[in-house]
Assembly symmetry: C2
DNA sequence: ATGAAAGCGCTAACAA
DNA sequence: TTGTTAGCGCTTTCAT
C-alpha cells in the first residue's frame, strides 16, 4: 500500500521561483517579507494543500510538541478520564499526545518509556503499573533530564512533580461516614499491601476509627489481590466470620461491586445486614442495587492539572522545582450505607 | 526545563575513530562488517545507552511506524477496548500509536486528522463522530492516498476497508430473544436516525418481527438523542402509553440503563411488567438490578482485527483491495428478559 | 570492510 | 527583502 505524496516547501518554492527559506518565512508570517510575496506564497500553499512535515520540523528545532503518557490500563474508566483530561489540556496548548498502556506490567512500562523517549517526546506523564517495585527506569529518565511527572500511582520519593489524590482524606471521609451512620465494627478490604493507595487509604481508615475512639482490630482488615475470585473469597470470609463487621469499606469500587454481588447471592442485605462503601466513583457504582456509597476522584481534572503543570514547567511558566499537587476527593453517599438519623 | 542530551551515532563514531555509516551498519547488524568492529560499536553503544532518534530515522526512510487512531470518546468502555486491541496489535508488530478523540465533534475529527497526517503517521484508524455527516476530510485522505480504515462508526460508501459488527444480526438476535420469551409488543428505542447503527439495528429488529409474523408498528418505535434527559423522557412516555409494549429493546446499553432506573423509580417491574434489553454489553449492564440482557460486541477483537488487516495491507501481506470485515455479536441473556419456558 | 557524500524537509544564522 | 548555506540524526548509494 503506497502512501501519497505530500507537498513540500521545495515544490512551492520552485513553482514561485523563490527560495525555500522565503517560503518558510512566509509560512510563519515573518515581518521582514514583502507583503506581496508573502501573500502569493501563502495562497499557493493553501491551494496546494500544503501541510508542514512535523517530523522535519521537530528534528530541526529538537522539539516535538508531543507528550508521552503511560497508564496501567486504558479500559479503566478512571484512567480513561485522566487521558481525556491530558489530551484536552495538551491540545489546547498545541501539544500532541502519545498514549501507551503498561497493562500493569513493569516490563511493558519500561519498554513504553523507551519507545516514547526514542520518539523524542518532549516530556512524559506516567502512572505506575501495579507491578512496579523498582525504579531504575525512572531514575534513568531523571538522570537524562527528560522531564516527567507522576500521577495517581506515584513513587513517593522520586524528586519530580507528583499529582495525587488525598487518598488518606478520602478514606477518612468514607470511614467517618460509616461510623456516623451507626457502624461500629468497620472493616477495610485492602488491595495488595505494597500499593501506595492501599497504604494511604488504610491510614485514613485508621485515622477515622481513632477519632471515634475505636481501636483498629487486625481481624477487621482483609487483603485481596483484586481478582474476581479473591474478591468473592473475601466476601464469603466476611459472611463466615463469627463476629461480622457492620460496615465494610473496600479500597476500590470494583471490589465493592464484587462483594455486593456475592453477598446478594447469599441473601445478605445491604445496608441492613452490613453497610458497604467503595472508592473511585466508577460508573458501575451508581447503577448497582443498592447504589454504592463511594468517594469521587475526578480523573479528568487530575489529567488536566498534571499536563498543565508539566507544560508550565516545560515552557518556563512555572519553576522547575518539583511540587506535589494533591487533589481533594468528595464523599458520594448512596444507599449502600445506612442513612441513620 | 531543559532536556537532557541524547547520544548520537556521531559521538559513537568519534569515540571509536570510525565513520557514522559504519556505526549505522553495525547497529543494524549488516553482514558486510568486520565482526570485530561490529562488536566494539555495539558494545560502546550499549554502554553509552544509545537510543536511535526515531524522528531522524523516520524522516530519512519516510516511514514513522506510527499509526493514528481517532475515536469519538476515549472514556467509553467500548472504544477504550478497541484502542487497547489496536495498541496491542500494533506494538506486537513494531508500530506505535497516536490516539485522538473527536469528542463526537466533526470539527475536532478533522483537526485530529490534520495533526496526525502532519505527524506523518503511516496510516489511520478512524471511528467517526456522531456529528459527522459530510465526508470531505475522508475523501481528502483517500485522494492523497493516505491509508486508513474505518471501524465501528463507518461511512458505508467509502471505498476503504471497514470493520463493523453485524449490527443487524445482533438486533435480530435480541429481538428474537424477546419474542421467544413471550413478548408480542416489542418496542425499539433508537438513537439519532441518521446514525449507521440506528438504522442497522432497526433493520434487525424489523426482520425478527417479520419472521414472527408481526407487523412493525410505528407507535412501537421511539427515538432518543442519547442524553439522560431524553432517555428518561422516553422511559416516561412508554409508561404513559395506552397500550404499553411488553418488551423494549434499546439501541445501546446506556439508554437501557437510564430507562431501567427511571422505571424502577416509578414502580415498574422488570421483566414482569416489561422486559428490557440493550446492546453493547457495557460493564454497567451486568451489575444493574436486574442484570440487563444485551448483545456483546468485543471491542478488543475489533481493534486487533482492524489494525492487523491495516498492517497487512501496509506491508503488502494483504491485497490493497478494500474489504469489509464483519464481526459477529453474541446474545447475552440476563434477568431483564423473561426466561419463559 | 569502510568511508565520503548526498539527502529526507525544515529552520536560522549569515550574506547580499 | 531575499538567497545561500549549514545542519538536525539518520540511511544509503557509490567509491575505495
Amino acid at each position: 500500500m503506497k502512501k501519497g505524496h505530500q507537498v513540500t516547501m521545495k515544490e512551492i518554492a520552485k513553482k514561485l521561483g523563490v527560495s525555500v527559506s522565503t517560503v518558510s518565512r512566509a509560512l510563519k508570517d515573518s515581518p521582514e517579507l514583502h507583503e506581496e510575496t508573502k501573500k502569493r506564497i501563502v495562497e499557493l500553499a493553501k491551494e496546494m494543500n500544503y501541510q508542514p512535515n512535523l517530523l522535519a520540523q521537530s528534528l530541526r528545532i529538537s522539539k516535538t510538541k508531543t507528550l508521552g503518557v503511560i497508564v496501567p490500563e486504558i479500559t479503566s474508566h478512571f484512567f480513561a478520564s485522566c487521558i481525556s483530561g491530558i489530551q484536552d489540556g495538551a491540545n489546547r496548548r498545541g501539544y500532541n499526545v502519545m498514549i501507551c498502556q503498561s497493562n500493569e506490567s513493569i516490563e511493558l512500562e519500561m519498554s513504553n518509556i523507551k519507545t516514547l523517549v526514542a520518539s523524542q517526546v518532549d516530556a512524559l506523564l506516567i502512572s505506575l503499573s501495579r507491578e512496579t517495585n523498582h525504579y531504575e527506569h525512572l531514575d534513568d529518565l531523571y538522570q537524562r533530564e527528560i522531564p516527567f511527572v507522576l500521577f495517581d500511582r506515584v513513587y513517593e520519593v522520586m524528586p519530580v512533580t507528583k499529582v495525587t489524590f488525598n487518598d488518606q482524606g478520602g478514606a477518612y471521609q468514607v470511614t467517618k461516614h460509616l461510623l456516623e451512620t451507626g457502624c461500629r465494627r468497620v472493616m477495610y478490604v485492602s488491595g495488595p499491601e505494597d500499593l501506595y493507595i492501599s497504604k494511604k487509604r488504610k491510614e485514613g481508615y485508621t485515622q477515622a476509627l481513632e477519632e471515634f475512639g475505636i481501636k483498629p482490630d487486625p481481624k477487621l482488615i482483609k487483603v485481596t489481590d483484586l481478582t474476581l475470585e479473591k474478591n468473592i473469597e473475601v466476601a464469603q470470609e466476611i459472611i463466615d466470620m463469627d463476629e461480622r463487621p457492620d460496615g465494610v469499606f473496600c479500597m476500590i469500587d470494583p471490589v465493592a461491586v464484587d462483594v455486593l454481588t456475592h453477598w446478594k447471592s447469599q441473601g445478605i442485605k445491604v445496608p441492613e445486614d452490613m453497610a458497604l462503601a467503595g472508592f473511585t466513583n466508577n460508573p458501575t457504582s451508581a447503577v448497582v442495587e443498592p447504589p454504592l456509597t463511594t468517594v469521587s476522584q475526578p480523573g479528568y481534572e487530575m489529567g488536566k492539572l498534571a499536563v498543565n503543570h508539566l507544560l508550565d514547567q516545560l515552557e518556563g511558566l512555572a519553576s522547575d522545582e518539583p511540587i506535589s499537587i494533591v487533589l481533594e476527593t468528595t464523599l458520594v453517599p448512596r444507599k449502600s450505607t445506612r442513612i441513620n438519623s
